[in-house]
């Protein structure tokens, strides 16, 4: 839910178009913040990712430089033509057509060069940056699937997704436009300053002195504005959260007659939001006109001062005109340079976070044996197994021997270590001592992927992906290279669904097996989700089956039917069943009772009841 809402809040904008009343959007460069531990290292790393496109990148840079230089030359050339006009009009000198044509031709060439280099460098940079981003995205996802599971215990899914959606995006945007535009902004600033100095040093000084003034003023305003933005962001969050609750809690809201109160509350929040919304967007608009005021006044000053110089003959009319054009030209890059440093730093901070993720340690895989699932007998043994999620051990020398084809039920209170047992069997986590073996072979001889061929499992945490029901069941089947989910035989899918008692409800859905599940499968009930996860496991015929609270949301009668189906399917398979309802596992060959990471009792239902120990106590309490 959290990841969903954070994604919703993400601002979408048509590239190249102003984001409108986006509040902070307009000055995001200036507001962006980020701290980088190793800016230089991150930058180098980023450039290493660019290495494949080194030449394209360099070419793009050269083109950007060319475009900026040409742009600086243009007003100067136009000034020359204006001077000829001025000469004609003031001194009645003859109009020198030859020079005009020549300058015109030069201008035309400059225009075309400017156009081509602008366009080409743009296209090249898009390709380079998009390629880098694509490869970074792919690297991230490959990494995701290679990380040990304990990594996910430490970091939230929302953080990881934001790494992909926000941080990577940040890097992409800066790479694509930030780099070239900052480069051209700097070149323009320097070039224009030089040209201005050449034309008239006094005027040049005058026009440049306002730059720091304007910069400081904008910076000051933005600092003042920050709390307004923050307040608005906070209120937006509060309002959205309230709306979410009002919609999701419809059962309570409607039937407890609290709709009216809720509406009143939402209404006043909405009014507050209105207030902060218009204020924050006003403030975000104000920063620019404020800067403009200084620049514009300066422009006027230059016009007067420059006019005097022309009258005095210190400055040519063409020079005057060119100077004014340069002043205007400063404006764009100037505004850009204001934000660029922060933008780049923020992007580097993002890149660093991404690289940190990509550098996370993976599990070392040592084994190289192959698993022939068909030949596995299904004997499983834990031999003095030690394990802990943290420094403290949960399992301290756990022993367990399971015969081929045996049906084992694991019971115990929450936190007793039932799921941990399964996690270790599946090698979701690495044991720190002892050994686990299948058919007498140490499982560390296999790579995790090979090992898992021996298992089919239904997890406590039900997960289906957004896609058709058909594909979701097919997901359990082994695919050979190049095979897709759609290549899985429909007969097999239907058969698995029937064994899981899911077939009848699927057939009742308007689109049957082609029904698309939404993200989180919110369009079917929890019980139905569990039936599908069971079907998904049943399609994979493996010698060892694990059911971890697979039927907790299914009614007991259906649960029994499913267990029958399982017996039909896998009479020879070894199976591990974790259940919270003791009633459904009484037929198991052996029941393992766990408490605080140790196996406290083992036996059949009858034996354990007669023993009158921990199991008997749990059983009677459950039935009281």
């Amino acid at each position: 839910m959290n990841t969903e809402s954070s994604n919703k809040d993400k601002q979408e904008g048509l590239p190249g178009v102003s984001k409108g009343v986006g509040g902070a959007g307009r000055v995001s460069g200036l507001l962006a913040s980020g701290s980088t531990k190793d800016a230089r290292g991150t930058m180098l790393r980023l450039f290493k990712n660019l290495a494949r496109f080194k030449w394209v990148f360099i070419l793009a840079i050269i083109l950007t430089l060319a475009a900026s230089l040409v742009q600086i030359l243009i007003p100067r050339k136009i000034g020359q033509i204006i001077n000829i006009f001025a000469g004609l009009l003031t001194n009645r000198t003859a109009f020198d057509w030859a020079v005009v044509w020549k300058t015109g031709a030069v201008l035309l060439v400059l225009y075309v060069v400017n156009f081509l280099s602008n366009y080409l460098s743009g296209i090249l940079m898009v390709r380079v940056s998009q390629n880098v981003i694509r490869s970074l995205r792919n690297q991230m996802q490959v990494k995701l699937n290679a990380l040990p599971l304990n990594h996910f215990d430490r970091s939230s899914a929302g953080d990881l997704v934001s790494l992909l959606s926000n941080d990577l995006d940040n890097v992409a945007n800066t790479l694509q436009s930030g780099l070239t535009s900052s480069l051209s902004a700097v070149v323009l600033l320097v070039g224009v300053a030089v040209m201005m100095l050449i034309i008239n040093p006094v005027l040049a000084f005058l026009s440049m002195v306002v730059i720091p003034v304007s910069y400081l003023m904008v910076k000051y305003l933005i600092k003042k504005a920050k709390p307004v933005f923050q307040k608005n962001a906070k209120l937006t969050g509060v309002f959205n959260g309230k709306i979410e609750e009002a919609y999701m809690g419809e059962d309570v809201v409607k039937h407890y007659n609290i709709g009216a109160d809720l509406k009143a509350e939402l209404s006043s929040l909405n009014d507050e939001l209105y207030d902060s919304e218009w204020k924050s967007s006003l403030v975000s608009f104000v920063t620019r006109p404020a800067g403009d005021l200084i620049l514009n006044s300066n422009y006027v000053l230059l016009a007067i001062w420059g006019g005097r110089y022309v009258i005095d003959g210190v400055l040519s009319l063409g020079g005057f005109q060119a100077f004014l054009q340069y002043t205007q030209m400063l404006r764009g890059p100037f505004n850009q340079v204001l934000g660029i440093f922060n933008t780049i730093m923020a992007a580097l901070a993002s890149a660093e976070r991404v690289f940190e993720f990509l550098d996370a340690e993976e599990t070392a895989e040592l084994g190289n044996e192959f698993m022939d699932a068909g030949a596995v007998q299904g004997e499983v043994a834990f031999d003095q197994v030690d394990f802990g999620y943290t420094e403290t051990l949960l399992f301290d020398g756990v022993d367990l021997k399971v015969k081929p084809g045996e049906q084992i039920a694991i019971v115990g209170r929450t936190g007793a270590g039932k799921t941990t047992l399964v996690n270790l069997l599946m090698r979701f986590y690495e044991i720190s001592g002892g050994k686990i073996s299948i058919d007498g072979k140490d499982t560390r001889g296999y790579q995790a992927e090979e090992l898992r061929k021996a298992y089919s499992m239904v997890l406590q945490d039900t997960w289906l992906f957004s896609g058709s029901i058909r594909d979701n069941i097919a997901f359990g089947a082994d695919l050979s290279d190049g095979e897709d989910l759609s290549d899985v035989d429909f007969e097999r899918i239907k058969e698995a669904a029937a064994l899981a008692r899911a077939d009848s409800f699927i057939e009742c859905l308007p689109q049957g097996y082609d029904t698309m599940l939404s993200e989180g499968a919110s369009n079917i009930s929890q019980g139905q989700i569990q039936l599908l996860t069971i079907a998904r496991a049943m399609i994979k015929k493996a010698p060892i089956i694990i059911l971890d609270e697979a039927t907790s949301s299914v009614d007991t009668r259906t649960e029994l039917l499913i267990q029958q189906g399982l017996k039909e399917l896998a009479s020879n398979s070894t199976s591990f069943i974790i259940a919270h309802r003791l009633s459904t596992i009484q037929d198991a060959d052996r029941i393992i009772v766990m408490d605080k990471g140790t196996i406290v009792e083992v036996g059949t239902h009858r034996e354990l009841l007669e023993k009158n120990g921990y199991y008997a106590e749990m059983y009677l309490a459950g039935r009281a």
Binding site: L89, R134, V253, L266
Partner: protein, 573 residues
């Protein structure tokens, strides 16, 4: 639709438009004054004129900034105001909707429409009032001034404008489909990544990492291609228009060359024309790229108006004839979910009196909860009658139903806020003693007495800091604090262990002895004490009777019983 909302703000809009016009006017004045500085100042060597015009320019600059600020003040009030009104109308409407009316609108789309789509619409309003309006009058203004300066050269600008406009439009519309493709592929990328994290164990258990990587690479490739395609098109736009502008300027210069020889053009005019040409063309370019945002906003507008135009389907009918009978009664009720061809309920009849407890038991999907939805009028029966105290439920206002029936839903939804506030959702202004009393009934009193914040203990959004059982118990407590004739429990004991459930059931029995209670459950233990148990299968009542009767005669009930109390069924009798 927007016009209706804009009406309320017509004064502010008028203010915005007036000041935006002033802004454009002063903006255009500046180059015009420059023309005068050059022609009557510099060329005439008249310093006085230069200073005079310069001061005029300075006032134009100040006027320019001032009018911009004022117009933006009006603008932000309008956009924020319309957003507020839209949001208010949306939630006012949606909150009251029955489930039948909600069919087809998931919670997430309702939230998106109230939050994101409104935001999108406000962007559109901002763009139309600010950008599109000012761009248009700027271009017109620039043209008018150019014509007063020199009609012949100005007509050159006029000719090239449609060309630039269609070029901009052409390129942006070509890139547009790519933009939605980008958005879709980015959504897909994020979704796959999110799902990959969520399903990491399942993916590893089934060795499907390679498959996930393949799917993901498809999505990133798609995003790459769409980005490159759209950007390659869009990258062409501004350099190309710059090129055309520059060429236009060059042509103006060359054409004026001949005119200048004849003395029919002034230098200032020439400089002014160049300036106005640049202004017009860059505005036209912006205009062309901005109007493409309209189709995107149109989608949001449509999504919002879809909600605003959806009226509650279950209207309150005229009170035809009511009897004075007491209790809840279902008479021959058939029901189909909207769009479904399979009956969810068939021929359901039962009666519940005050002082009685009835229960409904059945498998997942047998229709248990559906009966309750009809009772609460979330849907209307397809056939038959649902009556409450002798009145057809379709004639009763929702508040009336809410007053008579307390519903404890299956999904124990809690609000973020304190425990006290959550329980008070059941009874406004309930005193702390009352709250403790119901918390004790659901066996949570001790838990909160021990917690340092007591009733002020905060519940996080989605109650992530509580276990499933705790949520269910609080939800039950919130129901128990209400006063009503009937209480309906929808499978809301499922996450509780048997001994806790038993204690809660006993407390409920005691408190609600003289009320009508309807319990829906999967567990036999939950229903066995009811006066009558209805056994539901595939939407039909297959058997009914007391626990004892059903345990003797009902095949389905026996199966359920067997699955839950396998070895020692004798003991439970």
């Amino acid at each position: 639709m927007l016009i209706k909302y804009a009406k309320k703000y017509s004064k502010l809009i008028a203010g915005q438009l007036i000041f935006a016009s002033v802004w454009v006017f002063s903006q255009l004045m500046i180059p015009r004054l420059m023309v005068d500085i050059v022609d009557s100042g510099i060329m005439m060597k008249d310093m006085g004129a230069i200073v005079q015009k310069g001061l005029a320019m300075l006032s134009a600059t100040v006027l320019n900034i001032a009018s911009l600020l004022i117009s933006i003040y009006f603008l932000t009030r309008v956009t924020a105001g319309i957003s507020r009104d839209l949001r208010a109308d949306l939630f006012e409407k949606v909150i009251d909707w029955s489930k039948e009316t909600r069919t087809g609108f998931s919670n997430s789309t309702l939230i998106t429409r109230t939050v994101n789509d409104v935001k999108q619409v406000s962007t559109l309003i901002d763009l139309s009032l600010r950008k599109i309006f000012t761009l248009t009058i700027t271009v017109i203004g620039a043209l008018v001034v150019s014509f007063t300066l020199d009609a012949k050269l100005a007509s050159l600008i006029l000719i090239i404008i449609p060309a630039i406009f269609s070029l901009g439009l052409f390129l942006t519309t070509r890139a547009l489909p790519q933009y939605s493709r980008i958005r879709l592929s980015i959504d897909r990328i994020n979704q796959l990544f999110r799902e990959n994290i969520r399903g990491i164990r399942v993916i590893r258990a089934f060795n499907k990492a390679d498959y996930e990587v393949k799917e993901f690479e498809k999505a990133t490739k798609d995003a790459y291609e769409a980005n490159v395609k759209s950007e390659s098109t869009m990258m062409l736009l501004s350099p190309l228009i710059l090129l055309l502008t520059n060429i236009l300027i060059l042509v103006i210069l060359l054409l004026s060359g001949g005119r200048a020889e004849g003395g029919t053009i002034k230098l200032g005019v020439l400089i002014g024309l160049i300036e106005y040409a640049s202004i017009s063309l860059s505005n036209i370019q912006q205009f062309a790229s901005i109007i493409t945002i309209i189709p995107r906003s149109k989608v949001s507008i449509d999504r919002i108006s879809e909600i605003l135009s959806t009226e509650e389907l279950l209207q309150i009918k005229e009170d035809s004839m009511g009897s004075n009978a007491r209790g809840i009664s279902f008479k021959d009720v058939d029901f189909y979910y909207p769009g479904s061809r399979r009956a969810a309920l068939r021929n359901i009849s039962f009666h519940l009196q005050e002082g009685e407890t009835k229960a409904i038991i059945g498998s997942t999907g047998s229709g248990k909860s559906t009966i309750l939805k009809l009772l609460l009028r979330e849907y209307d029966a397809y056939q038959g009658r649902v009556c409450l105290n002798g009145k057809n439920i379709q004639t009763l206002p929702r508040e009336e139903i809410g007053r008579m029936i307390t519903f404890v839903p299956q999904s124990s939804f809690l609000f973020s806020g304190s425990i006290r506030e959550n329980i008070q959702a059941g009874k406004k202004d309930a005193a702390d003693e009352e709250i403790w009393a119901v918390l004790d009934m659901v066996q949570m009193g001790g838990f909160f007495r021990e917690s340092p914040e007591g009733l002020d203990t905060q519940i996080a959004q989605n109650a992530v800091n509580l276990s499933g059982g705790q949520k269910q118990r609080l939800s039950i407590a919130r129901g128990l604090i209400r006063e009503s004739s009937f209480y309906v429990f929808d499978d809301c004991f499922s996450a509780l262990d048997y001994s806790t459930e038993k204690k809660i059931r006993e407390a409920i029995r005691e408190k609600l002895a003289d009320r009508g209670v309807l319990v829906v459950a999967q567990r036999v233990a939950t229903v066995r004490d009811a006066d009558e148990i209805l056994v539901l299968e595939n939407g039909e009542i297959m058997d009914r009777g007391s626990h004892q009767e059903l345990a003797d005669s009902s095949k389905i009930y026996k199966e359920i019983l067997a699955s839950q109390l396998k070895s020692q069924e004798g003991e439970i009798r």
